[in-house]
Symmetry: C2
Subunit: 300 residues, 2 copies
């Protein structure tokens, strides 16, 4: 059976997983990303992950998912809100020329969505929306089995829709985006605004929530209410029957999921509230999804 | 050549137009709507318009566009933000049984979008978004010539996406929707909040703007800035190459269009700003679009 290497570039790590079309995993490896990566440092890290994976298990093709905005036509990362120094990275050309394999490329959240559609909680959904809750907040749409690319792979940038006009500053440079309230950067940023205390990561934040810390609770409540409005916006525009949450923050879904789902159902049109269902996805969706980008081209 | 009756139900009027597939118009008629219409009064008005049109020019099929939420599967208007007393109106069954013609049904904004795609400013667009600026704010998406229905015809309810969290009360019962700031109801409502003065219609509002009335200018500026964020949300989610504005408020496009387009281009990802183009549509798009619902089923 053919094997496919999926590479998932997140704000926190670059992860490579080698799978077959049935979703069997043969090798899995990751290294941390650095928010200050130059183009060269970024490509060096990509090289390290691909090299290490292919040395362990040879693969027939490579799929890569990265943060946007990207250009899937030319295989370039134009820029990235969470890897600020990247600038027109010629990613696909580099990997193709270095490893002499077919390379397929898309938005990381689009890959995660395909992953959930093929192997996760999104199977059989007619119109599947996946939110990736990590350093940033990504989103993808799979309609009747096809990922919605939008223009050059920029489809469904739901992290960067405005819910709080003139609100908190987002990594993208604009104000009031959903990502500025519900993502690791958003929750920690708003917690810092309130307390002037810098937390290291989402785990630390959610530990405070578990300990009933008043400030952390307040920021989580704010984040839930903003994210609920953002989900409302997505539902009112594209009418999904299934919404799946993936990414690091879902480890704490028991601390926000019920409240989030209830809030969404209260503020959307009843006809859509009776239609849409929510679920938490599987944890390896990103790199699996990136691999599906590749195997879609090889296996019908 | 076959002829098709298109019926467009707006917050202000019910309009019937009889056209052929080339967009030639044979008859056009409208009567005002009443925001307090009961189901029966509404159906009586529909009867009047259809009867009057068909008596003038016989048609082969009827297409109807109405405000949502609707159920295109069962042909029912579930409810309407601007015709508040409507409740599960069995519209398609009524028109079919009364006039013995094939009847096709969709969201009014979806019809307007099809109208612009076939006969207006949206021709040849790859991914066309149409905003209907009238009593409320509607929106439709035509991708590669196909209207995006969403679930039961509720696709792209962009008037009811949240931009100003906890903002002004919208006709839908929620707060901070785009429609609550940029539509006839939204502009007049916000003007009333500011001045306690009740204006009759959008024309009166824009006359004040033309006269450089400070309060009207302030409300228009607010409306533009909220609508721009709403357009940002739509662009970041579905990546249209063309956006067309239709409906009554476009008569005053010279008072807000340039400012709106500039604001949108400032706040969206540059890659999308270089892709999307704006235009003002044609004025009869609603009823033409409703007619295209019908002729799509008869002529390839």
């Amino acid at each position: 059976m053919k094997k496919y290497l999926g590479i998932d570039v997140g704000g926190g790590s670059i992860r490579g997983t080698i799978i077959d079309k049935e979703g069997n995993s043969y090798f899995d490896f990751q290294i941390p990303t650095n928010p200050n990566f130059s183009n060269k440092e970024f490509l060096d890290s990509i090289y390290t992950v691909v090299k290490h994976c292919l040395a362990a298990v040879p693969a027939d093709a490579i799929g890569i998912g990265t943060p946007g905005p990207i250009d899937i036509d030319t295989g370039i990362i134009i820029s990235s809100a969470n890897l600020k120094n990247l600038n027109n990275v010629e990613l696909v050309a580099f990997v193709k020329e270095t490893f002499h394999l077919p390379v397929y490329f898309n938005n990381d959240a689009n890959c995660a969505s395909l992953g959930e559609y093929y192997f996760g909680e999104g199977q059989k959904a007619n119109s599947l929306v996946v939110f990736t809750l990590g350093t940033g907040l990504g989103c993808g749409l799979v309609m009747r089995g096809k990922v919605f690319n939008g223009y050059k792979g920029n489809g469904m940038e739901a992290g960067h829709i405005t819910v709080v006009k003139d609100g908190a500053l987002c990594g993208c440079g604009q104000r009031g985006c959903v990502e500025a309230y519900f993502s690791t950067n958003g929750l920690l940023g708003r917690y810092f605004d309130l307390t002037n205390k810098k937390l290291e990561n989402a785990k630390e934040f959610f530990e405070l929530v578990s300990q009933n810390d008043k400030n952390a609770n307040q920021i989580l409540e704010l984040g839930i209410s903003v994210f609920a409005e953002g989900i409302r916006n997505v539902i009112h525009l594209v009418n999904p029957d299934k919404i799946v949450f993936v990414g690091g923050l879902t480890a704490s879904y028991d601390l926000f999921g019920k409240s989030l789902e209830e809030k969404v159902n209260q503020i959307i049109f009843p006809v859509l509230a009776s239609y849409v269902k929510f679920a938490v996805g599987k944890s390896v969706a990103g790199s699996f999804g990136a691999a599906t980008l590749a195997f879609q081209h090889f296996e019908p």
